[in-house]
């Protein structure tokens, strides 16, 4: 078991998933990926992640439902979740945050924004 924080990255778009995996990997994170909500829950229950990065629109189990199940699971309830979505309307953002997301990053994103969000959730606002 490494001491790198484990990030579970969930997206149905393979390209974006690969991009996040590469960037986070080179930034010193251990990354696990999943293509939809069901896979994500399975992976999270197998190994509890430090942070979950969750897309909204996915087949089988969408982001909001996955988030609800994470929050309902006593083992996972307090895992920080970042919603990473191309849905940018205020209602979507509000709904996501209301469902228990800790941050909302909109696509397309600068990698810096995502990294900031992860660090804030892992190490608190003060950082390091």
């Amino acid at each position: 078991v490494s001491d790198q924080p484990l990030v579970l990255c969930v997206d149905d778009d393979e390209d974006i998933l690969a991009l996040v995996e590469i960037r986070l990997g080179s930034a010193g994170y251990e990354v696990v990926t999943a293509n939809d909500g069901l896979e994500a829950l399975e992976a999270a229950r197998e190994r509890r992640p430090s942070v979950v990065i969750l897309d909204m629109m996915m087949p089988r189990l969408n982001g909001l439902d996955t988030l609800a199940q994470i929050r309902a699971d006593p083992q996972l309830a307090d895992v920080p979740v970042i919603l990473l979505s191309a849905r940018v309307q205020e209602e979507d953002v509000r709904r996501g945050l209301a469902a228990g997301a800790d941050a909302y990053v909109i696509k397309p994103f600068k990698f810096g924004e995502l990294e900031d969000a992860i660090e804030r959730l892992l190490y608190g606002a003060g950082g390091f």
Partner: protein, 610 residues
């Protein structure tokens, strides 16, 4: 003598000059009236017309007074003279006071009817003067008299009405019922009596029957005139009075014919003549026909009373006859039956009217229901379309953003590892254009929501000074890359009520616009200051400026200035449209002033937080 002629001539000349003076004076007086007045002449005419009616009345009254001071034969002459004068007055009044032939018809008929009465008077007067006797029954005089009545009645009916056919029909039916009731009494007390049935000739019996019938008809004519909502003018009252006087005189004469000695009754007939003439002479005769009328047939209390009285006429008559131990003639039954039929007709008419009204109401209600259902359907459909459009816009936005995420993300990734400066520049271009596409997608989505009127602000206290500093900081790298100097002047807190994100978007738009349109080495300055109840923000540049004819259209959707197109300055034409919408949603104003080649200043005013 010569002197007297001379003096006479001088006198005449003097008089002529006085007359000329008078004319001139009058002319001057008239011309000195203010043009807008117009009151003077109207008042004069009214006075003259009123005085004509009054004069006729006074002269008539004096003549009637004289009638009782002169010998019998002279009385006959004066009687005819008064009658003729009245006929002349009616004609003259009609010609003077009424304009068209249609309106004059009634009064021509009155005049003709009265003239026949005068002819009757003349004939009986002739008998009295030259034969020293009453005319026989029947005589030519009766012919004249009886021929006159229908004309008088026709006159009363010929006064133009504005009521609907239905209303006129109802009024006619009411009149008929009342007429039958009157006729009932006339018949029983004046026609079906031994005095008449004992007359030797058929002609005499017919004439004796005709008078009471004519009086009944004349009474009905009065009833017609009294149909509600006729304007109660003086002419109207005089006309009613004249007919009433006539009928009363006739009735009293019929009741007392055996003992009549030519006394006071003549005064009633003469007064009737005079009143008729006065009615025509009075100017208000013109308003008689312009009476505003009730659009609905109503059972007014007066009408109801009249109809009720008509209905109980027969029973009352029968009881009265029985009480007096008189026989009840068959005619009572016949006329009572006719009254019952008339009342029945009225009843049926009422029920039909109510039915029609109810049907019409049902029809209207059904139509309203259909219209309401249609409206609801259209509403639902519109809402559905709205929802679909909304979903479409947001889906398109989502679908565009997803591939853009990969494009810009991988370009960024490549650029980080790229050592070759030329390739790094190429990747920069890819990234920059991806940025453009992203902001275009954002603006289009935002504009679509604006157009739906769904820009709902989540308002909180905002310090505009901080937002200005933020916007300037964000724009600084880009300004630096084109050598544009960025100056911020906002020294005090600028509190407003607003949504920070939208206000930030507004400032970003204005500042990036200014930088875009300012050539290398230029300057962009942002100032913020409080001005009374307002917070004023100005973004000015030393750029290429805007043509005056274009500054009007600057805030329109997708508008791009000629210079922007020529110099290929990037943009979608949505930034200022969105900026304006944001400012207006905050209750503020945005404006622009520009000098071509020197620069442009955008001014924003927002209400300051209290």
């Amino acid at each position: 003598m010569g002197q007297s002629i001379e003096s006479g001539t001088r006198n005449a000349k003097y008089r002529l000059r006085r007359y000329a003076d008078y004319c001139e004076h009058r002319y001057i007086v008239v011309s000195s009236l203010p043009a807008s007045s117009g009151l003077g002449p109207a008042v004069k005419v009214r006075l003259r017309s009123a005085s004509a009616a009054w004069a006729a009345g006074v002269v008539g009254a004096v003549a009637i007074g004289c009638y009782y001071l002169i010998p019998a034969h002279a009385q006959d002459v004066l009687y005819v003279v008064i009658g003729l004068a009245s006929v002349a007055a009616v004609e003259w009044g009609a010609l003077r006071n009424l304009e068209s032939g249609r309106h004059r018809l009634a009064w021509h008929l009155f005049a003709a009817g009265l003239l026949l009465q005068v002819a009757g008077d003349f004939t009986s007067g002739y008998w009295e003067i030259f034969r020293n006797a009453q005319p026989p029954l029947p005589s030519i005089a009766d012919g004249f008299y009886l021929a006159g009545y229908p004309l008088l009645v026709a006159g009363a009916f010929a006064i133009p009405r504005r009521s609907s056919p239905l209303l006129a029909g109802t009024a006619l039916l009411d009149t008929l019922v009342v007429f039958l009731a009157v006729l009932l009494f006339q018949w029983v007390y004046f026609v079906d009596v031994p005095d008449v049935s004992g007359l030797h000739s058929l002609g005499a019996r017919l004439v004796a029957t005709a008078y009471p019938v004519m009086d009944a008809v004349l009474l009905v004519a009065v009833g017609q005139l009294m149909v509600p909502s006729v304007l109660r003018t003086r002419a109207y009252r005089l006309l009613i009075l004249s007919i009433a006087l006539w009928v009363v005189a006739d009735e009293v004469y019929a009741l007392t014919s055996t003992s009549y000695n030519g006394g006071w009754l003549d005064a009633l007939w003469l007064a009737s003549y005079v009143c008729w003439g006065c009615a025509a002479l009075d100017r208000s005769v013109a308003e008689l026909e312009d009476a505003p009328r009730d659009p609905l047939a109503r059972l007014t209390p007066v009408r109801l009373t009249l109809l009720a009285a008509a209905l109980i006429a027969a029973p009352v008559l029968i009881v009265a006859r029985r009480a007096a131990h008189d026989s009840v003639p068959v005619s009572v039954g016949v006329i009572a039956g006719l009254i019952a039929l008339g009342a029945m007709g009225r009843f049926v008419g009422l029920i039909r009217t109510v039915d029609r009204a109810r049907l019409a109401e049902q029809e209207v209600r059904r139509e309203a229901e259909v219209a309401e259902r249609l409206l609801r359907f259209q509403n639902d459909r519109l809402r559905e379309l709205d929802r679909l459009k909304d979903e479409f816009v947001s889906a398109v936005s989502h679908e565009l953003r997803t591939p853009l995420t990969s494009i810009s993300g991988y370009a960024e990734l490549l650029r980080l590892d790229e050592k070759n400066p030329e390739r790094r520049r190429y990747l920069d271009i890819v990234e920059r254009n991806a940025e453009r596409l992203i902001s275009l997608v954002s603006d289009v989505l935002f504009a679509a929501r604006l157009q739906d009127g769904r820009l709902q602000l989540i308002v909180e206290p905002v310090d505009l000074q901080q937002l200005i500093v933020h916007a300037a900081d964000a724009a600084r790298p880009r300004a630096a890359s084109t050598g544009v100097e960025l100056v911020v002047r906002a020294d005090e807190p600028l509190g407003v009520e607003g949504e920070p994100e939208r206000l930030g978007q507004l400032l970003d738009n204005l500042v990036s616009n200014a930088i875009k349109f300012t050539p290398d080495g230029g300057r962009v300055s942002i100032t913020g200051a409080r001005d009374g109840d307002l917070v004023r923000v100005e973004v000015s540049d030393t750029g290429i400026g805007i043509a005056p004819e274009e500054s009007e259209r600057l805030f329109e959707r997708f508008f791009r200035s000629q210079v922007a197109l020529e110099r290929q300055i990037q943009g979608t034409g949505l930034g200022l449209y969105i900026s304006k919408a944001i400012v207006e949603a905050h209750g503020g104003r945005i404006g622009v002033s520009s000098t071509q080649g020197e620069g442009t200043t955008f001014m924003v005013e927002l209400p300051a937080a209290s």
